[in-house]
């Protein structure tokens, strides 16, 4: 009588085939990226499945689920300021990752850009190639959109997300009689740049201000694209993957501006894990990567820190 019970359960499992039709949802996986004051964080999960069945959960020997150690999500790291991750059909995503790797490697003149170097850091130069200056996240997004739209008629079923810190030039205004300055952090910037000399500004209208100097600083940059390369940038968060509807809700509710460092990781992690609890096709691990800029927005000392979160395995 046992064959009967086996056959009946197989029949029932074939009834749950609703997920098979959409290629972007077939393998599962989600990402969420959030911006802080001078830092960005991106959270990725670790599930790889075929419809409702889970095949791999990216578990490695020390239970870490870090990217590049068996985690099905692939991260690109062209330079220390930018991270690129995607969710979607895994076969297409791997091809997309290889193409991006070739293009990025040529532009930043390294042998490859996928994944992290865990353990001791090695030299970043390859014989015969001279390192160029850092490629901005905006440029990487344009490159990626071009690549994706190039396959307009046979698209890659991926939903990539680019996060990073981009260098912007911020003009500094000063009133003629040194009244308190406007804007975010301009006070500290002035102090840091040794209070440059006044240029003439004798004018009654307050609209007339003299631009004293430009200060370069790093600002967060987030951009998500659809499978054809249409960009949508945001100053708060972007998300992609099967749980994106839930992620929009939790991130919208929990995000506040000007989050710092670990606080940003906390908020991004909580929003991500909560949304994953409501999703069948994502989960089995959550890893948050924080790109932490320096205090005053200069380009030195950008750190990337990886946080592995405890997560449910269902």
């Amino acid at each position: 009588m046992r064959p009967l019970s086996i056959l009946i359960t197989i029949i029932l499992s074939s009834l749950c085939q609703a997920q098979r039709s959409d290629p972007t949802q077939f393998n599962g996986g989600s990402t969420l990226a959030m911006a802080g004051r001078n830092s960005v964080a991106i959270a990725i999960d670790a599930r790889f499945g075929l419809g409702m069945q889970t095949i791999s959960t990216g578990e490695s020997s020390d239970n870490s689920r870090a990217a590049g150690e068996g985690n099905p999500r692939i991260l690109h790291l062209p330079n220390s300021n930018v991270l690129l991750a995607w969710a979607g059909l895994h076969g297409d995503g791997t091809s997309f990752a290889e193409e991006m790797n070739v293009l990025l490697a040529r532009k930043v003149r390294r042998a490859g850009c996928m994944g992290f170097q865990h353990g001791s850091s090695s030299s970043s130069s390859v014989v015969g190639m001279v390192a160029r200056s850092k490629m901005s996240p905006r440029a990487i997004t344009s490159l990626m959109s071009h690549l994706l739209y190039g396959r307009r008629n046979a698209p890659y079923y991926v939903e990539p997300v680019v996060v990073g810190l981009e260098t912007v030039r911020v003009p500094i205004f000063i009133e003629n009689d040194s009244l308190p300055l406007e804007g975010n952090g301009l006070q500290s910037l002035i102090q840091a740049s040794n209070a440059p000399q006044l240029i003439s500004s004798q004018n009654e209208h307050t609209l007339s201000k003299q631009i004293m100097t430009y200060k370069t600083m790093q600002k967060p940059y987030l951009c998500g694209t659809d499978m054809l390369g249409a960009q949508s940038t945001s100053h708060s968060f972007v998300c992609s993957g099967v749980a994106s509807r839930s992620l929009h809700g939790t991130a919208e509710a929990l995000w506040v501006p000007n989050l710092e460092g670990e606080e940003l990781v906390e908020v991004c992690g909580r929003a991500f894990v909560s949304a994953l609890e409501r999703d069948c096709l994502s989960g089995y691990g959550a890893v948050v990567y924080l790109i932490q800029g320096s205090e005053d927005g200069t380009e030195d000392d950008v750190q990337i820190i990886e946080y592995v979160l405890a997560c449910r395995n269902d």
């Binding site: 009588m1 009946i8 009834l15 970043s124 894990v273 409501r278 069948c280 979160l309 269902d314």
Partner: protein
């Protein structure tokens, strides 16, 4: 034997046309349900997830519905014992239906069956048994096209032991000697269950080959359901279990252990369940970083 299973296979495949495919927006309890007999009764278990196309609509659903409950049904007086003052020793069955398939269909089925069985108990002045419930379910399923795959299990006071009936969507009822598993998640654990209790030993089960204590049975059920929840996307949440014996039912709930190197999970009591629910009322669970690695540098 081979001809019999071929016949059964063709019968079942034909029967597949009697099941109704789930609609696009229908709530499904793609699930894992499991019942196992032990020396004294049965232990039934189920996960707690209901889903609609990949979205989890209920994380803590109850898929185990009681249609006969010894404690609740004490208004029913049997004609055998109407003059007997020792009514407490009278036998009564406790029967649970483990539901999988469409949530709407199975909830309705359980409600209809409960109605029917109470009506018959009052009309004929008897105590219903698990076998009666299974027969009623068969009657309804044969005549209606529903998406419902059920396990009907409990303590049958006329047979004097625990009993498990597996009921297919077309209405076939057959008794399982040791264990029965159902739902989409059960396919992942059939090998695991067979390795513990193989069907070839079914006829020896009454000679003491089955599980002896309820602790063993609880561990058997929770480990198996935990494994299925890891693999099946439509199973998840907690593990709800009931121990059913001749005195009634007892509820046990477990959180599945994520680390499969250990056995089963941790038993929750009511306080912990309350605080887990309270955590959810704060909207987002606290995250606990396991490891933080600083200063990652790009490869090459």
């Amino acid at each position: 034997m081979r001809a019999a299973s071929a016949f059964l296979a063709s019968f079942v495949l034909h029967e597949a046309s009697f099941t109704r495919a789930l609609r696009q927006d229908e709530v499904s309890m793609g699930t894992t349900i499991l019942a196992v007999r032990y020396n004294g009764g049965v232990v039934v278990g189920a996960d707690t997830r209901t889903s609609v196309q990949g979205y989890v609509s209920n994380r803590y659903a109850a898929k185990l519905t009681f249609v006969l409950d010894r404690d609740v049904d004490n208004f029913i007086v049997s004609s055998k014992n109407s003059s007997n003052s020792a009514a407490a020793e009278e036998g009564a069955s406790t029967c649970v239906i483990c539901r999988s398939g469409s949530a709407a269909d199975t909830q309705h089925l359980a409600s209809v069956v409960r109605n029917e069985i109470v009506g018959r108990q009052l009309l004929y002045r008897i105590h219903g048994t698990v076998t009666h419930v299974a027969a009623l379910l068969r009657y309804i399923l044969v005549n209606n096209e529903l998406s419902a795959s059920l396990i009907c299990a409990g303590y049958d006071h006329e047979l004097g032991r625990g009993v498990i009936y597996s009921i297919t969507p077309g209405g076939t009822v057959f008794e399982e000697k040791v264990w029965a598993a159902g739902g989409s998640g059960s396919t992942y654990i059939l090998g695991h269950l067979d390795s513990q209790y193989h069907p070839k030993d079914d006829d020896k089960c009454d000679e003491g080959m089955m599980l002896q204590s309820e602790e063993e049975a609880l561990e058997f059920v929770s480990k198996a359901i935990g494994l299925a929840m890891e693999r099946d996307g439509s199973s998840g949440g907690f593990i709800r279990m009931y121990v059913i014996d001749r005195f009634g039912k007892r509820f046990v709930s477990m959180m599945p252990n994520n680390n499969l190197r250990n056995n089963a999970g941790t038993i929750l009591d009511e306080d912990i369940i309350q605080s887990a629910a309270a955590q959810l009322r704060n909207f987002a669970p606290a995250i606990s970083p396991v490891k933080a690695t600083n200063n990652l540098s790009p490869k090459n």
